[in-house]
């Protein structure tokens, strides 16, 4: 066996078989790099974007509905053209993508924490607790996720005075998507927990006398995280689509601070009057973003958790 005394944690991590199969799969690497690019673009939007679409001083209403720079009538400073309010489309998309990714991440985090907690409890406790939690999840799964999200979102709006709507819209969307997402996590972690619970290392922890919560936290949870990570990546792509759908339906992010979905909705109104670019570029970005994240999730699943198919 190799003497691992001197090697650092990082080099041991890089030497890992999974990292190796990831870096030696062209598809996985391509998806990873593409996703990373999208994240960087979102993170550094204020630096990369030529304009700040939320600064009224920079928005020229008379520059509205300009086509991309290479088309007839396009201006060189607006590379992908402008939207109906005269905002530079590229800048708006960068900021919009930022919002979409943020909402996606937060929603998945919420669904993951909630679903994993309930799933692990359900799988570990078994019996009546298990039955109750899983039946609730089953009932929720009979309703399509997007409908649940619309419903939760609608409830949120109904209980809040109208003047706060735009301000809190993003939180509603996050909560709505997160809450519609948890049964997936609960199901997967419950299954994984039931497998781990019967393994001998959990029995050994019981013989030592560890209380259940400590066994869950220290032994079960780290061992089901693999499936959770894979599922979060796949759910992240779905959450972005959900957000775009909500926004497209006018239930999500308001058009003053547009996300990709809002931009598509706005563009949709102008699509048949020949202003194709307002809907086209945000849609293309959305497709590419979701595709690369999905592909990444798929490849991660192949590498980390081949059983989860």
């Amino acid at each position: 066996m190799i003497d691992t005394e001197k090697t650092s944690r990082l080099s041991r991590f890089l030497d890992n078989d999974m990292v190796w199969s990831f870096t030696h799969s062209p598809m996985a690497m391509a998806a990873g790099i593409a996703t990373l690019l999208f994240f960087c673009a979102a993170l550094f939007a204020p630096i990369i974007a030529p304009f700040n679409p939320f600064d009224p001083a920079q928005v020229m209403l008379w520059d509205g509905k300009l086509p991309p720079a290479w088309a007839d009538g396009g201006l060189p400073q607006y590379i992908l053209g402008t939207d109906d309010q005269g905002r530079d489309l590229l800048s708006t998309m960068l900021y919009g993508g930022r919002l979409s990714i943020l909402v996606g991440l937060a929603a998945v985090l919420l669904g993951m924490v909630l679903g994993t907690t309930l799933g692990v409890i359900s799988g570990f406790a078994g019996g009546l607790t298990d039955v109750i939690i899983m039946r609730i999840a089953d009932v929720q799964l009979t309703i399509p996720g997007i409908l649940t999200a619309i419903m939760i979102n609608g409830f949120g709006r109904a209980f809040l005075p109208i003047e706060y709507h735009n301000q809190f819209a993003i939180y509603f969307v996050i909560i709505a998507i997160g809450l519609s997402d948890w049964p997936q996590f609960a199901r997967v972690t419950r299954g994984a927990t039931m497998v781990e619970r019967n393994k001998e290392y959990v029995q050994a922890a019981r013989v030592i006398g560890l209380p259940n919560w400590l066994i869950i936290l220290r032994h079960v949870l780290p061992n089901v995280m693999r499936s959770v990570i894979v599922l979060s990546t796949l759910s992240f792509a779905i959450a972005i689509i959900s957000e775009a759908t909500l926004s497209f339906l006018g239930q999500g992010i308001p058009s003053t601070t547009p996300s990709l979905g809002t931009l598509i909705r706005v563009g949709n109104e102008y699509l048949f009057s020949g202003l194709w670019w307002i809907a086209f570029f945000p849609s293309l970005t959305l497709v590419l973003l979701v595709f690369s994240v999905n592909l990444l999730g798929d490849k991660l699943r192949d590498i980390l958790d081949p059983k989860l198919r």
């Binding site: 005394e5 078989d17 393994k199 220290r218």
Partner: protein
């Protein structure tokens, strides 16, 4: 005798990341018609790989890098996949380890047999059915006509393996490759299946390559033995010659490591060739952590473990109606005592309730009724009973499967230190670390072990770690639940030696559970034989093996594979 198969200088490579693994190196073997060859070796020796190479079922990325496999005058290494497919079933039959998964659970046995027969021999349906009945009859399945319509789950494990053998015979092959055909079966069924294979081989003149890790199996039925070690064939010869007078050093070690049922040895003669890291250093136990008494244990309070009228039933089928529920009585009115410092053996076939009993003692299951006392203190069945909580520091378990008994996300130091940290047994972290290092040293692992993770260790090494963890809370009682059944014989010998040394040094009381009679013979002072949840007989080691009283004990002893060597 006609020669069926001639393997010449076969080498098989598995190209892996950064290196090429030579799974088989320069392998030569001849198989004659009507002959059973036992291909023996420990896990990873390459014996199954050889079997797979002959049938063309070598898993990717494995490939034959050199040599030839000549089957009845033709080199089958050059065959295309389609030619290999035609060869399998028709001319080379296969029997796999697990009868449960080698049959399709959704098809009747008859349909599977008929399909195979039609595919291999091109018979019409009626003829194929007649042949299927004939085959089932040949492999000793009673009432074959009606059994054709049964599904695999309607057969017992042994019967299912007979069906698998019938399937292997369906195409009338000249060679059968049996990969661990009895490993998943109980001893009593194992000997029946072995006799069946012998009979088929004699009657039909089929050549059989029997891949197995179990020397007992080989000694029972094989004509010749081929011993593999690290991808190389180290010795071939007649059974008697190899087992009684082994030439190669490895074979000698292997034979010595097999526990003998005939007499009790003090130690197994140790085997250096197998695991280099396993050198044992003696520590002065009196001044050592392990030697210090666990302060609260009252030592002179009667037997270490006392069990009275213990029963536990598992619910098989749940129902709202009480009358509809079905139960299986896993432990049925069991009583026995284990004296301090004694090794008490529990023997029985799978499903006899021996593990369940151990789990009740360890507090993992709760008995329906009965009394359990440890050191004279009655233990309540509640999870947080004070006596139970107290017992957790001085009662520990070594589990069966070294691959699942450790959390793969924790390093060895954290795994071994967990009991000490949880019960606050040490004064500070530095002391904990010191003790972990000592313990690992004590069970024969190197100093660097503490920083590594479980997957970096072999099965035997992991079992040593599991023992170190069990010792960490300075136990007085150690429950060993089949501690060596997942290990190779030579590793088993080392682990058994280690357990015995620890017991001598620390005066441990042991409850030792095993299905393997020779192992129990070597380890235990007193032995209880269990069957269907009941204890048939409790006797001292010598009495049980030399003069068994109960009918079932006699039956078990008779079935025990005996090398007849040494």
């Amino acid at each position: 005798m006609t020669q069926l198969l001639d393997i010449r200088n076969l080498s098989i490579d598995f190209p892996m990341r950064g290196l090429v693994l030579n799974a088989v190196k320069g392998f030569n073997l001849q198989v004659n018609a009507g002959e059973i060859i036992g291909l023996v070796g420990e896990s990873g020796a390459g014996k199954s790989t050889v079997g797979n190479a002959i049938t063309g079922l070598l898993g990717k990325p494995g490939r034959i890098s050199r040599g030839e496999v000549i089957f009845q005058g033709e080199n089958i290494c050059d065959y295309t996949d389609e030619q290999m497919r035609k060869l399998r079933g028709r001319r080379i039959g296969m029997i796999f380890q697990d009868p449960q998964s080698s049959l399709n659970p959704l098809m009747t046995v008859g349909k599977q047999l008929v399909e195979t027969i039609q595919e291999c021999l091109g018979l019409r349906l009626k003829e194929a059915e007649a042949r299927a009945i004939e085959l089932l009859n040949d492999v000793g399945i009673p009432d074959p006509e009606s059994r054709l319509k049964s599904y695999p789950h309607q057969f017992s494990g042994g019967m299912r393996q007979r069906v698998v053998i019938a399937l292997a015979l369906a195409g009338d092959p000249e060679l059968i490759i049996a990969d661990e055909p009895t490993t998943a079966l109980d001893v009593s069924i194992q000997s029946q299946i072995l006799q069946l294979i012998r009979k088929i081989c004699d009657e039909r003149g089929v050549g059989v390559i029997m891949v197995t890790h179990d020397i007992g199996v080989v000694s029972e039925i094989a004509d010749r033995v081929a011993v593999m070690f690290r991808g190389e064939l180290v010795e071939v010869g007649g059974v008697d010659q190899v087992l009684r007078n082994p030439q190669h050093e490895y074979t000698q070690n292997l034979i010595v490591a097999v526990p003998s049922p005939d007499k009790r040895l003090h130690r197994f003669t140790c085997v250096d060739l197998i695991e280099g890291e396993a050198s044992q250093t003696k520590i002065d136990v009196q001044t050592h952590w392990l030697g210090k008494a666990n302060s609260d244990v009252v030592e002179d309070a009667g037997p270490a473990i006392e069990i009275k009228d213990m029963s536990l039933a598992f619910r098989l089928k749940n129902s709202v109606l009480k009358s509809q529920r079905t139960f299986v009585q896993a432990v049925d009115n069991v009583s026995f005592d284990i004296e301090q410092g004694e090794t008490f053996g529990l023997v029985g076939e799978s499903g006899s309730g021996k593990s369940t009993l151990a789990r009740i003692v360890a507090g993992l299951h709760t008995a329906d009724k009965g009394e359990l006392s440890i050191y004279g203190k009655k233990i309540g069945f509640k999870h947080n009973d004070p006596a139970r909580r107290h017992s957790r520091t001085f009662l520990q378990v070594v589990f069966q499967d070294p691959y699942s008994s450790m959390n793969s996300r924790m390093n060895i130091r954290d795994i071994v230190a967990e009991p000490m940290r949880f019960h606050n047994l040490t004064e500070n972290e530095a002391q904990t670390r010191q003790i972990v290092d000592d313990l690992l040293d004590h069970v024969g692992l190197g100093k660097t072990a503490a920083r590594r993770y479980p997957h970096e260790f072999s099965g035997g090494q992991r079992q040593r770690i599991a023992i170190a963890r069990a010792l960490a809370s300075r136990p007085k009682i150690l429950i060993c639940d089949e501690p060596t059944s997942a290990l190779d014989v030579s590793t088993q010998a080392q682990i058994l030696n280690l357990l015995r040394d620890l017991q001598d040094e620390l005066g441990l009381t042991m409850l030792f559970i095993s299905h393997d009679l020779p192992v129990v013979r070597q380890m235990c002072d007193r032995i209880a034989v269990m069957r269907h949840g009941k204890i048939c007989e409790i006797a001292s080691n010598e009495d049980l093996f030399e003069n068994p009283q109960h009918e079932y004990s006699q039956h078990l002893l008779k079935l025990m594979p005996n090398l007849g060597a040494s």
